[in-house]
């Protein structure tokens, strides 16, 4: 467990380092995910080392978003000032994106790969 967490943090740190070094618009954790995937694919990292730690974090990922959501309270006034365009655009656009992405991806998937209920 400690080894897994250490590796995950190490990859995140490498990602942060590269992101800063080249002034990239991609955050360190997303780069870290890419680096870890490369490490797993090339066989430099054994999935057994990190499986347990990754499972622990991923199965509780929703919890880590709660403090970010509570942060919205600080910007209540900002949102209240133009609540109509903000709320309508946010809500409708979220559904539009899901419909466009989901429908298109499903259409492009081969028929045998589609899980028909």
């Amino acid at each position: 467990m400690v080894r897994g967490l250490t590796l995950l943090l190490l990859f995140q740190l490498c990602g942060e380092f590269i992101s800063r070094l080249f002034d990239l618009p991609i955050p360190g954790n997303v780069l870290g995910m890419g680096l870890l995937l490369c490490g797993l694919m090339t066989g430099h990292v054994d999935v057994k080392w990190i499986e347990e730690a990754a499972e622990l974090l991923l199965s509780n990922m929703a919890l880590f978003f709660v403090p970010a959501g509570v942060g919205v309270m600080v910007y209540g006034d900002l949102i209240a000032a133009e609540w109509l365009p903000i709320s309508v655009a946010t809500i409708l656009s979220t559904f539009i994106v899901m419909a466009v992405t989901g429908k298109l991806a499903q259409k492009l998937e081969s028929p045998e790969a589609t899980d028909v209920e």
Binding site: N29, L37, E51, Y75, T94
Partner: protein
């Protein structure tokens, strides 16, 4: 005496965990998507802090420690991607095209709707990266000239909405494949949507995790291209 206890990380972490566990309990009992544990926890904690007169920055001493774990969690998304690499690689075309279309649809629909409803320039620009994961959205919005804190709030709200309604909405409009559902929710609702997809299906969660990164990249490039094209 009380103020330094409230300002200690112990307070923020314990409050978040207790509320989250209760919210999860309610979610399991009622079995309804409307009581999504993330959304219920956020609303409950905001109300509790307001009622008790606790400042957000005091809560954040503990909250930030939990938030920190989001970083290694994003790195950990490589594990399900690796485990399901063959199924994902087989579907690389629908995945890439689906995310690209979603990224474009998000920018056009969010900005277009805000513009049509008379939103100010700052609001329109702040909405542009709304479906992108928070750290990428912030770096985008700082570049194009929106209001970063507003974007952060919109991104979280979008994520909650996608997590609450996403899987049910997809089913209602006839999206049945786990890959397409994972892509739809991951592209629209980034990490919060992905967390929800992992509850539904492992493969859908893995694809949603991939969509977080790819949608972030595509939106970054699309927006810098669109901004240059429109002469901003």
């Amino acid at each position: 005496m009380w103020s330094d206890l409230v300002a200690s990380p112990l307070f923020g972490i314990t409050l978040t965990l207790v509320v989250y566990l209760l919210a999860q309990h309610i979610y399991k009992r009622l079995n309804s998507v409307w009581v999504n544990p993330v959304l219920v926890s956020i609303v409950t904690i905001i109300i509790l802090l307001k009622v008790a007169g606790v400042e957000y920055r005091d809560y954040a001493h503990g909250g930030d420690i939990l938030l920190f774990l989001l970083g290694p969690s994003v790195v950990a998304l490589a594990v399900p991607l690796y485990q399901r690499r063959e199924e994902i690689w087989q579907r690389k075309r629908p995945i890439l095209i689906g995310i690209f279309a979603g990224s474009l649809a998000s920018i056009v629909s969010a900005c277009g709707l805000a513009w049509a409803l008379g939103g100010s320039r700052e609001i329109i620009l702040s909405l542009a990266p709304k479906s992108v994961t928070t750290p990428i959205a912030i770096s985008i919005v700082e570049k194009i000239g929106g209001v970063a804190p507003l974007t952060a709030a919109i991104v979280v709200l979008t994520g909650c909405l996608g997590a609450v309604c996403g899987p049910e909405f997809c089913r209602r409009i006839g999206i049945t494949s786990p890959v397409a559902t994972g892509l739809a929710v991951g592209t629209a609702a980034h990490g919060i949507g992905t967390a929800r997809m992992f509850e539904v299906d492992r493969l859908a969660g893995a694809v949603a995790g991939l969509a977080i990164g790819l949608n972030g990249l595509m939106t970054t490039f699309l927006l810098s291209f669109l901004m240059a094209f429109m002469g901003y």
